[in-house]
């Protein structure tokens, strides 16, 4: 969770500015890309754990017994849609269209919240079907993997809404467009990770 909050901080922590940069990328953008690189390794580790353990169910339910693929497909689609609206927000920010930026940030956040709401629903349903956090290796690794992703989305949501408030009250130090763009980068990353997780968990049978 700290990573992403720190990112928001990163986004404003430039003092040399893009003018001096040796690579042509601004410090913030380069830093963000590196951070996302490290996040790949984090999710890589979690995904490996899940792939190793998904067949080890003990006496608990198996993946294919509880998963609701139509629903998860729908909610993945919703998350993908939010990437689209995030693109609109970033492009409005570059055009200095504050009104649209605010609008699309809120829409992105609402779609994201719908997705997380869906995840909370699924988790509750799984729990009722007998799949608790410590039921089996499969359930533990499933909840940790999707839970980490969910936390990333939630942190993204808080950043989106807070950013919206900050933009409105003119509280963003540094470049507004770049700040929106950085949060956008993070948001797209989280979406892409979900596509990978969704493919591995639901589409490739265990």
């Amino acid at each position: 969770m700290w990573f992403t909050l720190d990112n928001l901080a990163t986004a404003h922590d430039t003092h040399e500015g893009a003018a001096h940069s040796s690579t042509g990328l601004s410090n913030v953008k380069l830093g963000m890309w590196l951070f996302l690189g490290t996040e790949c390794l984090l999710f890589g580790g979690l995904i490996s754990t899940y792939m190793l353990y998904r067949g080890r169910v003990g006496t608990g339910p198996r993946p294919s017994q509880v998963f609701d693929i139509p629903f998860t497909s729908v909610s993945s689609f919703v998350l993908l849609m939010s990437s689209l609206t995030m693109v609109l927000a970033v492009s409005s920010a570059h055009k200095r269209d504050d009104k649209s930026t605010n609008l699309w940030l809120v829409i992105t956040a609402l779609l994201g919240a719908t997705f997380v709401g869906g995840q909370v629903y699924e988790f509750t349903a799984f729990y009722n079907e007998g799949m608790g956090f410590s039921t089996s290796l499969f359930s533990s690794s499933f909840y940790v993997l999707t839970g980490f992703h969910g936390v990333h989305v939630t942190v993204g949501l808080i950043m989106l809404l807070a950013l919206r408030g900050m933009l409105k009250n003119n509280k963003v130090p540094g470049s507004r467009a770049e700040t929106v763009e950085m949060i956008g980068l993070y948001w797209h990353f989280v979406d892409i990770v979900w596509i990978i997780i969704f493919t591995l968990i639901d589409l490739i049978p265990a």
């Binding site: 919703v78 699309w104 609402l110 009722n128 808080i158 989106l160 807070a162």
Partner: protein
Amino acid sequence: MFTPGSKYLIAITGLSAFSLALYMLLVHPSALGAVALIGLVAATSLLTGITLFTRDGHAAEDQTSAATLDTPTPSMWPLVGAAGFSLVLVGTVTTPIVFIFGIVAILATLVEWTVQAWSERSSADVSYNASIRQRILNPIEYPVLAAIGVAVIIFSFSRVMLAISKDAGAIIFIVAASAISLVGLLISVRPQLKKSIVQTIAVLAAVGLVGAGIASMGFGLREDLVVAAEEDHYAHQECGEEKSEHFDKGVSETVSATSGADATIELVDGKLTAQVQGIEGLQDSITVRRANPSNIIFRNKDAGEFRLSAHLGKKQIADGVMEDVVTCTQLISEGAEQWLTLTINKPAVSGEPYTLSVPGVEGQSIVVVVP
């Protein structure tokens, strides 16, 4: 002209009256609870009255002082603080969660007021004071407000989803998401849309969502989930020849990282064979160490669906009542494999060895030796 203090007391009176009404109507009222709440209403009305007649009068005179030269912007904190106070009281007679919410609301109010009081005394410049206040409070207000917003949506939405049927859930989900996107699109292509209309839509949507959430919470979980929770049917193994309704639903077909397994049991051409790690050739018995989790892989190489069952003797479940100890894999189709972890604490009673067999395949079994 009310001061924040009198606003607070007015609000607290109103809310305690409201919670008294709520308590009497909704919760199974007890005499103690009712007395407490009535006492609260009485006390706060008294205090409100006193404040209104005394303190507000002084406040008017104080208006010359620098610190209150400009009235602070309209504040929601008196209301929050009062709500918190009532929640605490309601919480003491109902559930602890309500109590905790109340405490959090009161703490939040205290912090806000303290910082405001500090900042208002810091200099003669109101905008500077405001900036000091913002420096301290914005960092907590932004994320907390955002988080509360997100939490309300997530909570209400997930409750609705839990209450309605599975198919309707997916449809509701996609409809909600489309509605959000469409409203966004609509507003963006018609920027001249009146602000009040947008606000109305937003408020209606929010109230609708929260209302639906609360209603669904009252309704509870949908039926199949309730049944599933009661019966725990996926965990209940059925090791017979027939396909069972729940346990054999949704079969896993592959196992990852098989290299360390103790033995692999294969069903080939109606024959059951064991390949034991490190031992050349096929075996008809395997050795499993006592009190030690041992991992076994079952691979079905025959046409048709089969399961591997391990018969591990009997155990006493009550005085004189013995029950067979059996564990098994699911019914798996040709080419599939599954993982079975056995932990056997005692050697078999002589004459009744532990065995692995495939229900429906006669005369084939692997003896499990426990030394």
